[in-house]
Symmetry: C2
Subunit: 268 residues, 2 copies
Amino acid sequence: MPQTPATPAQHAIDILTRDAELRVWSLIVTLFGDLARARGASLPGALLSQITGRIGIRPEAMRVALHRLRKDGWIDSRRDGRTSTYSLTETGRDATLRASRRIYAPTPETPESWHLLVAQPMAQGERQALAGKLEDAGYVTLSPGVFLGCDAAPSAPDMIAVSGTLAPVPDWVRQTLMPARLLQDYADLDRALTLVADLLGPTPGLNRLDAVTLRALIVHRWRRVLLRHADLPERFFPDGWRGTACRDRVQHLLAVLPVSDPTATARD
Amino acid sequence: MPQTPATPAQHAIDILTRDAELRVWSLIVTLFGDLARARGASLPGALLSQITGRIGIRPEAMRVALHRLRKDGWIDSRRDGRTSTYSLTETGRDATLRASRRIYAPTPETPESWHLLVAQPMAQGERQALAGKLEDAGYVTLSPGVFLGCDAAPSAPDMIAVSGTLAPVPDWVRQTLMPARLLQDYADLDRALTLVADLLGPTPGLNRLDAVTLRALIVHRWRRVLLRHADLPERFFPDGWRGTACRDRVQHLLAVLPVSDPTATARD
């Protein structure tokens, strides 16, 4: 087959997949979050095959990933004659919606009121269990036994708690919350998104499959850095952090790559 | 000499000195704080001799204590013919006034706004130096590297700081701030002050020397427990803490034992 010149969409897909560790099951989680998170929404197997095929994922790898997600209770499948349709389970949908609020927010939340909690001295195991409970409730661990959050804490009668305003965040906290590796991953993503935005321009005019595929890759790369750290305003992160720039670029790209009815892609 | 029956004042002095470790120099510090803390005020050596003599302190012990306080820069002495007069130095007076605000306050302060500070992980020596600096500024150490206070903190750019309202104080903090021994000392003082108040009644009608001596002993016992812990409202201390009861009794006793012109005692 003669090689055809790469389209801007193909270029953009290459940029977003290059050096990115793409786990197929994780990418499918992103796809459901982007295209089928509404109650009752579903995705035809054929569409999933087209998208993953566009990225160069082998059909066998996709089947294994779908099997794993079904086994984990994340998705359900339904067979209609010769076609399969997939949808999120209640569990999968709940988790997807929780993450979506953060992933798709045009601006991060900037809470005004903070809770600083200090636990009594305790054994390490006990302290880690407490940290787990508080982190599930959106708190961050600043140092052993010291937690910061903006929502009401889970019942914590054994802790010292002061609620109010927060002074400027010191450097050591910023570095704790955003390790150098993650800071670098943000910089890499910012560069990739900038290249993609330049390639696509303000009105990309792509076919639906390319648009859906690029959306998925953009959201996927974004959530893979975003969900690795606590949901905190910019002032908690080191100077040079590209998180706000990345969020703006993601918002811009999703706006120029809309998908009104993703399942239409399968019929293109 | 035939033994005369003990007066109520003598009884009260016995109660307040029994089992109390009275350091003479420290009692003299109390006397200056109670009788001569105003700028320009002084105490005649003769009055000091009378008061300490009334408590059973040997003249030699008093001379040693006065010598020590002069050497430490706490008091100055002046000789007028055959009599010596003593007064606080500027240093002694500053420290006396600082402590007096707390000792003589009819009710403790109940701040509404608190600062909770958390230092970054650091070596123990460094942390202790920081704790010393913050404790000088009225902060209490709740656990290593964790400080609570109500006044603006000394410049602390390296600390996480939340300012606002304080949740109910957990038991482990109350016990940290008020060890069992101190709790017991409060209970003992409460008992002693109750006995003294019962002995003296609402209008003691004592001579000036007895009144001045009892005041000194009451204030002395009170400040010896009070200044051993942080200046915090009642809710920071364990249930059963007799601090508020003691403060009320001290206020009552000082009101029924007034001294308008203490130096008049020496001329009685």
